[in-house]
Symmetry: C2
Subunit: 355 residues, 2 copies
DNA sequence: CTGAAAGCGCTTACAG
DNA sequence: CTGAAAGCGCTTACAG
């Protein structure tokens, strides 16, 4: 049976270098208190033998705990989206428990910036070894990331990113590209000439940068290729009141009698689906985002043609994993982990649900 | 910072039961040589405290190795498909190296049944602790699975399955459902009446059960719903000769002047794409399987509309992981791990590639 | 600056 | 049937 190589240990290194294992450990972890000369000697040998310390033994011997702070929206806020990254985070946390990873969650409300600031401050007060953050409020999140950079606390961002580069890793989706993909799907399914509605249902407070990017991606697709000569119409509806939404949609339909498809730039697509069902407009192609519990039944009933999935569970899982790799395994972590843009239909939904 | 609970160790158990740690270890692992009475006593305490042995420490202390046999097609056979599961397998293997997992690969040729038999026999001779197998040849694979069941060697299947239930886990895709999905995509993109071609490019020797299931799924979609009244035409082409394939396709096009789309039931879809390109039939929707190096450029050039991805890398990764969970972590393993049926287009290709 | 020793939580001969 | 002890590979005070 294969294995990369005969296992070589810290003891072997010590012997070869003519020093004690304690000294070897000191140079491996740069803990100082070693003369330059012996340091070089040990370095050389570890490199020649390509020595890799046993992480299991290391975790076992070390009583040191590493503490993760997790700053993200509460799962029981508006919409059910945030429970999924939470599940992924918990799954990852459970797996690495034995490595001495402790954590604390700091949950804020996406509709209240003050709760973000509050929780962020709490997190910083606890002096974690690393921070995992969903930067829902750009400006404030950027400040936190800067502060962490100063304090040498590695930050992993997920779901959305921020512009400055104080984080070690971003886990999420390319919003522009997902819009582009939605454009392709809309185009592919539109046989005849007609209007395409782009609906943005915004809650004002929410970070809308990636909502905007999705829309731009969608528009961009048709800038390059619009053989069917579809007319794109933007519709922005503020607030979450169903009455207002229906009113606006009704108006759009009366103004544009040949609407062929609707692209909704976020997970509130189910509201448009319900409108279409109520108004018996079943021929309209509807594309939106996220496998939420509101959206899934609409997909199953064919009221929604496609949902774009951003694998929220996987995002949470990978964010924890990235920080774990950095802090515990001391592995290199990529600057960006781009999650696939899944196209979900009635026919392949169940596999993404289970996953 | 949170943690499930204060860590409770084998030593605590021993103390509470008034026995030595050695004895506790014996009952935990059912190694016998313990009186019924003390066994019960220890059992009770471990259960009450919900004691979970530390897998890291366990792996470290145990010099026992666990040996995986991996029986699968060689990556450098026809087509490039098999290198992906191999990559996933290697990735998983690397991660669990420290747990004392040894392995040996037994590679056969998908076009030569004898190599399968040969390699399978070799694997069995080596008496592995577990087997990971791609059961490309049903009958022979079934026999191997039976033999393993007799010998209490757990078997994990991936990519395709077999009917008898001698394996502990199957990792793969639901072929019928993927065909159904292809049907939906074809239907969604077909505006007008016309013909849809279902092309099966078969190498005779290859296991074609799941090829068939894909086709049946595709047909099934239109049985339930064929509003556009598309005519489905089956085309089976044996052998892999490009000339013969082109000839058959040309014939199909001359017999059916209004072909709107083609569904190719396996990864050889690029051959049809090249045909369409050569014949300048760019309006035909083309759907097929797998992100192989031949298919990807066709997708990028829009010669293929959709590729269905079966995440071969992930399949390999998860197959190894399932066996690891069973054999090393002693965790429960699901009977079936169904991999998502990814829809890949030019626009989201790159995320599936990196992944 | 360096080494010897104890210990992390579990496993494994060995002795009784 | 049971316990005491050594050891897995690494880390961490402690003494010098």
């Amino acid at each position: 049976m294969e294995r990369s190589d005969k296992k070589i240990t810290i003891k072997d290194i010590a012997q070869l270098a003519g020093v004690s294992v304690g000294t070897v450990d000191r140079v491996i972890h740069n803990r100082g208190e070693v003369s330059e000369k012996t340091k070089q000697k040990v370095r050389k040998i570890t490199e020649m033998l390509n020595f890799q310390p046993d992480v299991l033994a290391s975790a076992l011997a070390s009583k040191k705990n590493v503490r993760f702070a997790i700053l993200m929206p509460s799962a029981n806020g508006e919409g059910t989206f945030w429970k999924y990254p939470m599940l992924g985070i918990d799954k990852a946390l459970l797996e690495i428990e034995h490595y001495g990873v402790l954590y604390k969650k700091y949950l804020f409300s996406v509709s209240d910036k003050n709760t973000f600031i509050e929780q962020a401050e709490k997190a910083m007060m606890d002096h974690p070894d690393g921070l995992i953050m969903a930067p829902s409020f750009k400006k404030e999140a950027t400040e936190i990331a800067e502060l962490c950079a100063q304090r040498k606390i590695p930050v992993v961002l997920f779901n959305s990113s921020i512009d400055n580069q104080d984080h070690i890793c971003y886990v999420g989706q390319d919003a522009f590209q997902s819009g582009l993909l939605a454009g392709k799907l809309m185009d592919y399914g539109s046989s005849e000439n007609g209007e395409i509605l782009i609906v943005s249902l915004m809650s004002l407070l929410q970070n809308n940068q990636y909502i905007l990017a999705r829309k731009q991606g969608f528009l961009h697709y048709f800038e390059n290729k619009n053989e069917r000569n579809l007319r794109l119409i933007s519709l922005e509806i503020d607030g979450l009141d169903v009455g207002a939404i229906y009113h606006e949609l009704r108006k759009a339909f009366s103004e544009n009698p040949t609407i062929k498809g609707i692209f909704v730039t976020n997970s509130r697509v189910f509201q448009v689906a319900r409108f279409l069902e109520a108004e018996k407009k079943t021929k309209v192609n509807l594309i939106g985002y996220d496998l939420t519990s509101e959206n899934k039944p609409c997909l199953e009933k064919n009221m929604i043609s496609f949902l774009i999935n951003q694998q929220p569970l996987e995002q949470g899982y990978r964010a924890v994993n990235a920080l774990f790799n950095k802090l515990v395994l001391k592995k290199e972590v990529p600057k960006e982990i781009l999650i696939p843009i899944d196209i979900v239909t009635k026919e392949n939904l169940k596999y993404y649900e289970e996953y």
